[in-house]
């Protein structure tokens, strides 16, 4: 689907020249700031003829490296990723196993980032990671398929949003860790110490004015540099391949791969909204009001971040960058081939039950049956699925109340506990369904297409 584009190399090299220049400027500014603020911690790693090699010098040298990279890129020879890296990344992230690897890897990264948050919130670590990810992106953009995805006008803001989200997550975690450390020492949270009130005019209005001007400038530059992503004329019988929702709905679209439209399009999104609205009524933890904290609100923090980062943001990233034609899973450096053949045959639970376990054919509805008879056949066919769904929602809550959520049940009371646990079970149903699809090629636990009811 990608025609030969002779200007790709030139365009990517030109962009990367400016990209590396921006990186150089960024790091030079950082070192200047550190020097001016007197934060040049003298860490004598080695002496350069009597001059101590401090962190300021470190960032400055990175800046100079970026200048060299920029010169190379503008000269038409941008540094590239090694071939083994590209091959391994593609091999790991392609096809259905790729989805598993991606999900497990992002989950592992989030767990690592959570457990070692004290390490990751250090500004020097965060700045290093930020630089590393930008450099890696710059190197990867010499790869044509990667460039075509990342530099597509639709996707540029998504890339920016990923970095922005990373920054805000880091900032919140940084403040939380600081507050948690202060709480251990018996100090009030930072927000309490720094609760000086400011005036609307000029403090707020002035800031808003500056933001307004900056955003306007950004939009102008964006509109000039990136062409509007227009597509071919709409046709009722021709769907673009791949057909992607707006970026903010790509999480939902990914959900739809595993669920019936009724579930993934109506029930689960509604429950997301209802669940978010229910949080104030379910929350009994009075701590963390008005300041950042993690250790005082561990449960709420983890549940929210799993729901937001794991089940929403990573799915958006997956849908944007790794889903290609025919909604197949493609590696980040893999050509989007519309004729890529992947074996994705999947079956319903009833088929497993009747064909594989009972060794008979699945009971089917015939055209001469009435509604009641069809219903009986359906119930006979789907009893295992219906039973397991019922067990999931009926047996699990009391089971959890007596084990994991014992304290919650005592504190919250029956109604609030049941609400919370039901919402949690619905939330958990998405990763469970994804895992079942990948592990057993399971399509639907309950499949009643006759009545448009599939779970």
């Amino acid at each position: 689907m990608h025609g030969f584009d002779p200007s790709f190399e030139a365009r990517s090299a030109e962009f990367l020249g400016f990209f590396y220049l921006a990186l150089a400027l960024m790091n030079a500014t950082a070192s200047l700031y550190l020097w001016q603020a007197g934060k040049d911690k003298i860490k004598v790693w080695f002496n350069l003829g009597g001059v101590a090699f401090t962190n300021v010098l470190g960032w400055l040298s990175l800046s100079m490296l970026c200048v060299i990279l920029a010169a190379a890129a503008m000269g038409g020879i941008p540094p590239k990723l090694p071939g083994w890296f590209i091959r391994n990344a593609n091999a790991a992230l392609t096809g259905n196993p790729g989805a598993i690897v991606y999900t497990l890897a992002t989950t592992a990264l989030l767990i690592i980032a959570y457990y070692w948050r004290r390490f990751f919130v250090k500004p020097v670590v965060a700045w290093t990671l930020f630089n590393a990810s930008l450099l890696l992106m710059g190197l990867a953009m010499t790869n044509r398929p990667f460039w075509e995805i990342v530099a597509k006008p639709d996707n540029v803001p998504i890339v920016a949003l990923v970095f922005l989200l990373g920054f805000f997550t880091w900032l919140a975690t940084y403040k939380s860790v600081t507050n948690d450390d202060r709480a251990v020492e018996g100090l009030p949270p930072l927000e309490k110490d720094d609760d000086e009130k400011v005036l609307v005019w000029p403090d707020l209005v002035y800031t808003e004015l500056i933001c307004m001007i900056a955003i306007t400038a950004l939009l102008l530059i964006w509109a000039i540099l990136l062409k509007a992503p227009l597509e071919e004329p709409a046709s009722a019988v021709k769907t673009p391949n791949p057909s992607k929702a707006p970026w903010y709905f790509l999480g939902l679209q990914e959900m739809l791969v595993y669920y019936d439209p009724w579930m993934a399009g109506v029930v689960l999104p509604s429950l997301v909204i209802v669940g978010l609205m229910a949080i104030p009524y379910l929350d009994f933890n009075k701590k963390g009001n008005g300041y950042y904290t993690i250790s005082q609100r561990r449960f709420a923090y983890i549940i929210f971040q799993v729901g937001f980062l794991e089940l929403w943001v990573t799915l958006i990233v997956l849908g944007t960058f790794l889903r290609g034609p025919n909604w197949n899973f493609f590696g980040p450096f893999e050509e989007w081939d519309a004729h890529k053949v992947l074996v994705l045959n999947n079956i319903d639970l009833s088929q497993i039950l009747w064909n594989d376990i009972f060794g008979t054919s699945v009971p089917t509805v015939t055209s001469d049956m009435g509604t009641f008879d069809s219903l009986l056949v359906v119930l006979k066919r789907e009893w295992l699925g219906l039973l397991s769904v019922a067990l999931y929602f009926i047996v699990l809550p009391p089971l959890l109340a007596t084990t994991v959520f014992r304290k919650f049940f005592i504190k919250m009371g029956f109604v609030r506990y049941m609400t919370m646990v039901t919402l949690l079970l619905f939330m958990a149903s998405l990763p469970i369904k994804m895992a079942l699809r990948w592990a057993f090629n399971l399509k639907y636990i309950v499949a009643i297409p006759e009545f448009f009811f599939n779970i």
Partner: protein, 349 residues
């Protein structure tokens, strides 16, 4: 008495005595005891500092009793009502209120005057001090003095009640004539003035617009393919072929493929059973593949991959009189309901 300044009971009495008639004693014989107590209690309640006791006591002596004085005052007051300031000025509020609340009940009060009302009138309208309960009750029973006065054969001329203030007057009844005039004026406003013209024409425009909108829902020509159309002869479609040329216009794949071991020609809908996207026929992979969520269907329309919960739907197909295949999109056959056994859903190849 004509003086505008307020007068005390003593002054009123003194003035009355001065101009009082000599036959005051005769009238005083009527029921002096009862009258005495009544007036005494009245005076007590209205003005404690006026020392009403000497007055009450004097009733038994040579001096005319209070009742006599009052009777005289009544007769005199009735003679020239113009001289009384009370006639022009509205008297104390409670009276006015009363007349406003019960116009019918106030009428008999105008005929007979109570002691307090005389005193009020003599004082120049405004009564000093709060209105006591005794005063209120004495006003409510005006019949007693009248009867008493008749018995005394005194010609009692009652001062006319003050004119009712504007707010106390009952509202004028609206006549039918006025209503008609109001209706005409509203009509005139609607038709005659600029605003009226504007709103009237706006209403008319909206009505016409709504009617036009309703008409718009029933177009003269429906620009859509007919639900029944011909797709060539059965011999044109070789076994294993998926004819995609009717997809753009009719949304149909005409397929010649085996189903349940029988080779058949059938028309498959190009709508994915998951969320309604349009799948593509991939010749190399021999499958229909949806670009939205990756649902896949075999050549016979059976779903096998992705989230599609049921097979593609079939349309009714038959051999027309001229030997061509005719597809009828108004009738669909769903495999999961067992409809594909229906002979109308396929043509044996």
């Amino acid at each position: 008495m004509a003086a505008k300044k307020k007068m005390s009971v003593e002054e009123i009495l003194a003035a009355a005595r001065k101009g009082g008639s000599s036959d005051g004693g005769a009238s005083g014989e009527d029921k002096p005891g009862k009258k005495e107590t009544e007036s005494a209690s009245e005076a007590k309640s209205s003005e404690a500092s006026e020392k009403p006791k000497p007055v009450g006591k004097s009733g038994s002596g040579e001096r005319p009793s209070v009742a006599d004085i009052l009777a005289a005052a009544r007769s005199k007051g009735g003679g020239n009502p113009e001289a009384k300031p009370a006639a022009k000025k509205p008297i104390a509020k409670p009276v006015a209120k009363k007349s406003a609340e019960k116009p019918m009940a106030a009428k008999p009060a105008a005929g007979a005057m109570s002691t307090s009302s005389i005193l009020d009138a003599a004082r120049g309208g405004a009564k000093r001090g709060p209105v006591s309960k005794g005063e209120g009750t004495s006003k409510d029973k005006p019949a007693a003095p009248v009867a008493k006065a008749k018995a005394g054969k005194l010609k009692l001329e009652v001062p006319p009640m003050p004119e009712k203030p504007g707010y106390a007057k009952p509202a004028a009844k609206k006549g039918a004539k006025q209503d008609r005039r109001g209706f005409l004026s509203v009509m005139g406003l609607m038709v005659g003035t600029g605003i009226g013209v504007g709103f009237t024409s706006l209403t008319m425009t909206m009505v016409v617009w709504t009617l036009g909108l309703a008409r718009y829902l029933f177009p003269n020509i429906r620009i859509e393919p007919p639900s029944k159309f011909k797709v060539g002869f059965p011999t044109d479609i070789a076994p294993g072929v998926v004819e995609t040329k009717y997809k753009a216009q009719y949304g149909v794949w005409v397929v010649n493929a085996p189903y349940n071991g029988e080779q058949a020609i059938f028309a498959l809908s190009t709508v994915c059973t998951h969320l309604g996207c349009t799948p593509n026929w991939l010749e190399a992979e021999q499958k229909f593949k949806c670009p939205c969520h990756g649902s896949g269907f075999y050549v016979d329309g059976i779903n096998f991959e992705g989230p599609a919960p049921r097979p593609l739907e079939r349309y009714a197909i038959s051999v027309a009189g001229d030997g061509q295949l005719e597809v009828d999109k108004s009738v669909t056959f769903q495999q999961e309901k067992g409809d594909w056994d229906n002979p109308a859903s396929f043509v044996p190849a």
